[in-house]
Symmetry: C2
C-alpha cells in the first residue's frame, strides 16, 4: 500500500492506557492521519513516499497547550514580580487598552505560534480579543487551535457590549465550520468580569451550537473571597447555580479548592486546566492536581499567556507541574513522568472534546506528532525514554513537528513561518510598547 510518510523512531511513546513505549518502530502516515505503528523490521506492507529517520528521537503526541492568550507574547517581560490584580490593573490592561488592536493580535499570535511549534506544541486553546486575527495565523501556519470567542462585561476594541461580543462569537463559529484545524469555544473571561445576566444570555447559545466554554475560575483567593462576600457563594457554586457546570466546561486555574469544590468538579465532569507556573509567578496559589486526579477529574495543562509565565514552553510547564504536584502532595510518586505527559497531551484533547482526533499516537487519529532528540548532553544516558522526556528534555531538543500530517518543523526549522521576519516585527512592537509603558508608568 502506498502511504504518505513513514517515520522511523528510536522510541514511540503513544500515550495509551498500557503506558506503552515502542522501540525501533515506525509510524505510518496517510495524508492527515496515523494509520499504523509497526516494527521497523516488518514494513513490507507499506510503500512510503517519504521516509524520515529519527534514530535518536522519541515521538510523542503533539503537546496541547490547554490555556493561553497567544497574542500576549508581545507583552512578555513588560511587568513582572507583581500579584495578579496589580499586574492586570496597572500594567496589562492599560497596555492592552492602548495598543491591543488587530495588528497587535495578528503579530502577537504569529510570534506565539512560531514559539509553540518550535517547542513541540501542535494545538493550543486560546482566549483573546480579535480571535479572527489569531484564526488567520493558525490557518497560515498550519497549527491546530481551539479559539475562544471572548465575552467580558466592559467594552473593548473587539466589541462594545454583550450583543456585539455574542454576534461576533457566533460569526467566528460560522466562518470556521469548515476549517479542520479550528474549533470554537465561548470564553467568558472570569466570574468577576461577567454578570449573571451575561451568563444567562450566552449559555443557551453555547448549548444550541454545541460548543465548549473556556473560563478563568478560582484564579486567586481574592476572587473567591469577594465572590463569597458578594454572592454568598464561591465562584464555582455560582456557576453551578447558573447551570454552567458540565463536561463542556474548561475551568482554568482552580487554585486552593475545598473538598466540596473538588467533589462538585468531579460530579459534573468539569475539565480543569492547570497553569502552575503562572499561578506561582503571580503568587495566586496552587491547583490541587493530586486530589483532583484522585477524584477522577480530567486535569489538562496550559502555559497561560507569556505576559505571566513568561513563555509558551509546554515541556517546561509539564516538568514544573510534576515538581509542584509532588511538593504539594508531599508524595514523590504523584504525577510521575508518564502522567505528566498525559496532562500535556491526551488530557488536553479530552478537555477540548477532541480526544477522538488528537492527544495520542494511534491508528485513526490525526498525525499531530512531536519528535524530541534525546542524543544530547542534557538527556544522555537514557534509561527510560518517558523519564528523559518528562524530567530532562528541554524544548531546544524538539527537532520535528507534524500537524495533520504536515511537517511544520523540519530538523529544527519552521516550514510555514518566516522566523527572521517574526523577530523583526517583535522588535518594532517592542519600541512602541516600551514607549507607551514608560509614559503610562510615569502617569500612575
Amino acid at each position: 500500500m502506498q502511504v504518505s510518510q513513514q517515520i522511523n523512531a528510536r522510541w514511540i511513546i503513544p500515550i495509551d492506557d498500557a503506558n506503552s513505549v515502542y522501540e525501533h518502530q515506525a509510524l505510518i502516515i496517510q495524508h492527515d492521519k496515523i494509520i499504523d505503528i509497526v516494527p521497523q523490521k516488518n514494513l513490507s506492507a507499506y510503500q512510503p513516499k517519504e521516509v524520515v529517520e529519527l534514530n535518536d528521537h522519541a515521538l510523542i503526541p503533539g503537546l496541547i497547550n490547554a490555556h493561553t492568550h497567544a497574542a500576549m507574547s508581545l507583552l512578555k517581560g513588560l511587568a513582572d514580580d507583581l500579584p495578579l490584580d496589580e499586574w492586570l490593573n496597572n500594567h496589562i490592561w492599560p497596555a492592552e487598552t492602548a495598543l491591543a488592536d488587530e495588528d497587535f493580535v495578528r503579530d502577537g499570535s504569529e510570534l506565539a505560534i512560531a514559539e509553540m511549534i518550535k517547542g513541540g506544541t501542535t494545538c493550543f486553546n486560546d482566549m483573546y480579543f480579535f480571535p479572527n486575527q489569531t484564526i488567520a495565523q493558525v490557518l497560515k501556519s498550519g497549527i491546530r487551535a481551539n479559539i475562544g470567542a471572548p465575552v467580558i462585561d466592559f467594552p473593548t476594541r473587539w466589541a462594545k457590549d454583550l450583543d456585539e461580543y455574542v454576534s461576533k462569537g457566533v460569526a467566528i463559529y460560522d466562518e470556521t465550520r469548515d476549517d479542520a484545524l479550528i474549533t470554537i469555544s465561548f470564553a467568558p473571561h472570569a466570574p468577576y468580569t461577567v454578570s449573571d445576566e451575561s451568563f444567562k444570555v450566552i449559555q443557551p447559545i453555547i448549548n444550541e451550537l454545541g460548543l465548549t466554554t473556556h473560563i478563568h475560575l478560582h484564579e486567586t483567593a481574592k476572587e473567591v473571597e469577594e465572590s463569597i462576600e458578594q454572592d454568598k457563594e464561591s465562584p464555582i457554586f455560582r456557576l453551578k447555580r447558573l447551570g454552567l457546570l458540565g463536561p463542556d466546561l474548561m475551568a482554568v486555574h482552580m487554585i486552593g479548592l475545598s473538598t466540596d469544590e473538588i467533589k462538585l468538579v468531579a460530579d459534573f465532569g468539569v475539565h480543569v486546566i492547570h497553569c502552575p507556573r503562572s499561578n506561582l509567578k503571580l503568587a495566586s496559589g496552587i491547583c490541587p492536581v493530586d486530589a483532583l486526579t484522585k477524584a477522577g477529574v480530567n486535569v489538562a495543562l496550559g502555559t497561560d499567556g507569556s505576559a505571566s509565565n513568561n513563555d509558551l514552553d509546554m515541556l517546561s510547564e509539564l516538568r514544573t507541574a510534576c515538581l509542584i504536584a509532588k511538593g504539594e502532595s508531599t508524595n514523590a510518586n504523584t504525577l510521575p513522568a508518564i502522567e505528566a505527559l498525559k496532562i500535556a497531551t491526551i488530557n488536553g484533547a479530552k478537555a477540548l472534546g477532541l480526544d477522538k482526533q488528537i492527544g495520542s499516537l494511534e491508528a485513526g487519529k490525526q498525525a499531530d506528532i512531536t519528535a524530541i532528540n534525546l542524543n544530547s548532553l542534557e538527556t544522555q544516558p537514557v534509561y527510560d525514554a518517558v523519564a528523559s522526556v518528562a524530567h530532562s528534555a528541554s524544548r531546544s531538543q524538539v527537532s520535528d513537528v507534524w500537524v495533520a500530517g504536515k511537517r511544520l518543523l523540519d530538523n529544527y526549522k519552521l516550514t510555514t513561518i518566516d522566523e527572521p521576519e517574526v523577530l523583526e516585527k517583535a522588535a518594532k512592537w517592542q519600541e512602541k510598547i516600551k514607549q507607551f509603558h514608560h509614559r503610562s508608568i510615569k502617569a500612575v
Copy 2:
C-alpha cells in the same frame, strides 16, 4: 593599553548593589581578569587582541552551581518519582556500590562539566567519591570548582574508614593548592551518616587548613524527626553543639526550618544552599528562602545531582526558585528577577568564600562570564533584560562562556571538551548501568 579581549555586548548585567544594567558597553579582559567596563563609544584607551561582538546578548557573571554531584550525571533518569530514602537505598546506593569506580567518576564528571559549561555555569560546588577524578576533569576542561572531600561513616570504594577519608581529603587539598581554578572543602555527607565522633575528628583539621564545610542538612522531615528522637535535638542544633556552625559552613537543602532554626542560621552566618527542584522532585519539602533572606542569611542555589533533578540547568533552577519562593511566601514580589540572578551568582561566590574573585562582573574580578543571546522567539520582545534572563531565557540561548578569561564555549561550541566523544562514553555507561539495574531490581 594592549589588552587580551574586548566583548561588546547589548546588555551587561554586572550584579552589583545598585542593580545596574549597562547597555551597549564593552567588557575589557586582561589575561584572566576583568579590568574595565566602558561605553562602546569610548574605547580609545584599549587595544584589544580580540574583539567579540555580542550585539543581541546579555552578559551575566558565570552561573555558580553551589551544590551538585557531578558524576551522578551518568545516573540521570535511572530511578524517578520516588521519595529520598527509597531512591537512595533501593536504587542509587546499590548502583553506586557496584559501579561508581574511578572510571565512572571520570566520565560522569566530564559529562556533567560539558553540560554545565553549555548551560552557562562557570563554577560548581561538588561532593562525590573519587574527587581526584573530578579534579582532573576540571583542570582538563578549564571550568572552576570547589571540590568536597567526602566523609561518611561507612566504607566505600573511595575510602575504608574515617582515617582514610581524612588522609585522602588532606592529600587532595595539598595537591591542588597551586591550581587557581580549584578550592577544597570537607564534605561530611549528612548528619545521619556522620557520627559526633567523626565530626570531632574532622573539625580541627578543617579549622587548621582554613577550609569550608559542605554538608546536606535538614533535607527531609524524616531526617529531622529521627534526629530529635535519637539526640533530642534537630540536626542543626546538633551541629551547633559540635561547634560546626559559622560562615565557613555551607548547609544544603534546609527544608521546613522553624523560626528558631532560621535565627540560628542567621546568627552564625551559615550559608544556605537551596536546591528547589531536587527537594520538590523527592517531595522532601521547601526551603523558606523568603524568611531566610529577610533574616539576613546568604542563600545560594544548586541543582543537586542529575539523578534527582534531572539536569544541571542553573537557568531553569533559578527560574523554579523564583516561582517557588513566590508561591511559598504567597507574595509575587518575593525573589524578583534580579534577586534570582544573585542567588545563582554572587551569593554562590559568597557561600564558597570566593566573592572577592568571582560572582559579579567588575574590574579586578576573574573573567568568568556567560553570554545569553536574547534575539530569539522565546525572549523577544525584551523590555527588561534582567526579566528576560530570569523569567524567559533557557540554556539553549547561552552562546559563549569564559572562565578566567578563557573561552570555554565559543558560539555554542565547546572548546575544551569533545562533545561527540562524551556522548559515546555516556552510551557505553548506559548499557553497563542498565544491565546492573535490571538485575538489581529483579533481586529486590
